[in-house]
């Protein structure tokens, strides 16, 4: 702190002077104070000059074209957020036994949750299947999305039920295709999706025993693979990804769930 005519000029005010953030009256007082102290004046002038240098140099970034992938992230994922909010309510509703709200009413049959003892096995096998096929560059799927009708009919027949491949295009995820996996204990279908950045998600669908209970979303992580899984009547589902974070995956899981339970 320094004193001038009974005024205290503190370091904070000198910083504010450099940023030109003092009220005009106070600024004049600091100007006068600096006029009598060349060394201090040179120091704070250098600070002010640094501000100008930083802006001059880094303002060039503002003129650079925005990369497409950044713009896509900024605008393309809005549904994930809403879905994540809804999923939060589902989990909460399940935990407290269900309250009002259309999401919960629609999901009432899923409300009395109890983790199926087999759930962790489902998640584990889904994570393994994801880790096996998601990194595949040339043969990620058996049947490509260009033959989607055939794919769906084939998997439906093998799993003995009406299987559908959810549409995740609005979430930026395009269907790559699907494959049939070894029995677990029944036949298993795997659908693979990919976004514009090459990030992949797989949906693992298996037939459940007839008396299998329904569950709410559950989350687990195996290595670097995140998995949301649930059982709904005839089928057990697990959505896996090593590329998406938990929130994004939860958002997708919600969209899948709602599409499969219109």
């Amino acid at each position: 702190m320094s004193e001038q005519n009974g005024q205290m000029i503190g370091e904070n005010e000198l910083q504010a002077w450099a940023d030109d953030r003092l009220a005009p009256e106070r600024r004049s007082e600091v100007d006068a104070w600096l006029a009598a102290r060349p060394e201090e004046a040179e120091r704070v002038a250098a600070y002010r000059e640094l501000n100008a240098l930083l802006r001059t140099h880094f303002d060039a970034v503002l003129q650079e074209p925005v990369p497409d992938h950044l713009e896509a992230v900024a605008r393309g994922t809005s549904r994930w957020r809403r879905a994540a909010a809804i999923a939060g309510w589902i989990v909460l509703g399940a935990a407290v036994g269900g309250t009002a709200g259309w999401e919960l009413r629609a999901l009432e049959r899923a409300a009395p949750v109890a983790a199926t003892p087999d759930g962790p096995v489902l998640a584990h096998r889904a994570a393994l299947a994801h880790a096996t096929y998601a990194p595949e560059v040339r043969h990620p799927v058996e049947v490509g999305a260009d033959q989607e009708q055939h794919l769906v009919a084939w998997l439906s027949k093998r799993l003995g039920g009406d299987i559908r491949a959810p549409r995740l295009d609005a979430e930026g995820m395009t269907l790559v295709g699907g494959r049939l996996l070894p029995r677990d204990p029944g036949p298993v279908a795997q659908f693979m999706y990919q976004n514009a950045q090459g990030r992949r998600v797989t949906l693992y669908v298996r037939t459940e025993a007839p008396d299998q209970r329904e569950t709410a979303f559950q989350y687990t992580r195996e290595g670097n693979v995140r998995v949301f899984y649930w059982i709904d009547r005839k089928f057990g589902y697990a959505l896996s990804s090593a590329d998406l974070d938990r929130e994004a995956l939860l958002g997708l899981a919600n969209v899948v769930y709602r599409q499969l339970n219109p």
Partner: protein, 165 residues
């Protein structure tokens, strides 16, 4: 969605800050991407009527801190970063090279404060909120950051640099 439009409009500002913060373009754009993804996941925490840009800087700050923690570079950042100096040496003026090197040499916490105030023109109070630190800490870090940059650039002399420019 208006949220999406607002986010898209703010990308250049986020990129500018990220570039100054981490130095190279690829790392900076990664930071921006992670920030935008995080922002969507956390948008329900944003209070309508407050400054979206300041909020995004908060998100970016948290993402940045987590990334540093993950890569355990915290201590390294107290020293000069040789790869940044090398990159800047190609075709840039002396002034730009010295500026980038000096900013990169700052401890992380001081660099954030300096850039939010001097480059992004946030108020001291906004900066305090973004970094979740007291205003007094903002002021002391700002003073230390500026003095360190001045020391690193003196000898070349900042006033002389202005003439070069």
């Amino acid at each position: 969605m208006s949220d999406a439009r607002s986010l898209v409009a703010l990308i250049p500002r986020l990129r500018r800050y990220a570039r100054a913060l981490v130095g190279d373009r690829a790392t900076a754009d990664d930071l921006v991407q992670d920030t935008l993804e995080r922002a969507w996941a956390k948008l329900h925490l944003f209070r309508e009527g407050t400054d979206l840009r300041a909020w995004l800087f908060t998100v970016m700050h948290n993402v940045h801190v987590n990334r540093i923690r993950a890569s355990r570079q915290t201590e390294m950042l107290d020293d000069e970063m040789p790869e940044l100096a090398q990159r800047a040496a190609q075709g840039d003026s002396l002034m730009v090279r010295d500026l980038e090197r000096a900013v990169a040499a700052l401890p992380e916490a001081q660099r954030e404060v300096l850039l939010l105030v001097a480059l992004e023109d946030l108020s001291y109070e906004e900066t305090a909120r973004v970094l979740e630190i007291p205003v007094g800490t903002v002021m002391s870090r700002l003073a230390r950051a500026r003095e360190k940059v001045r020391a690193l650039m003196s000898g070349k002399g900042m006033t002389k640099l202005q003439v070069v420019k």
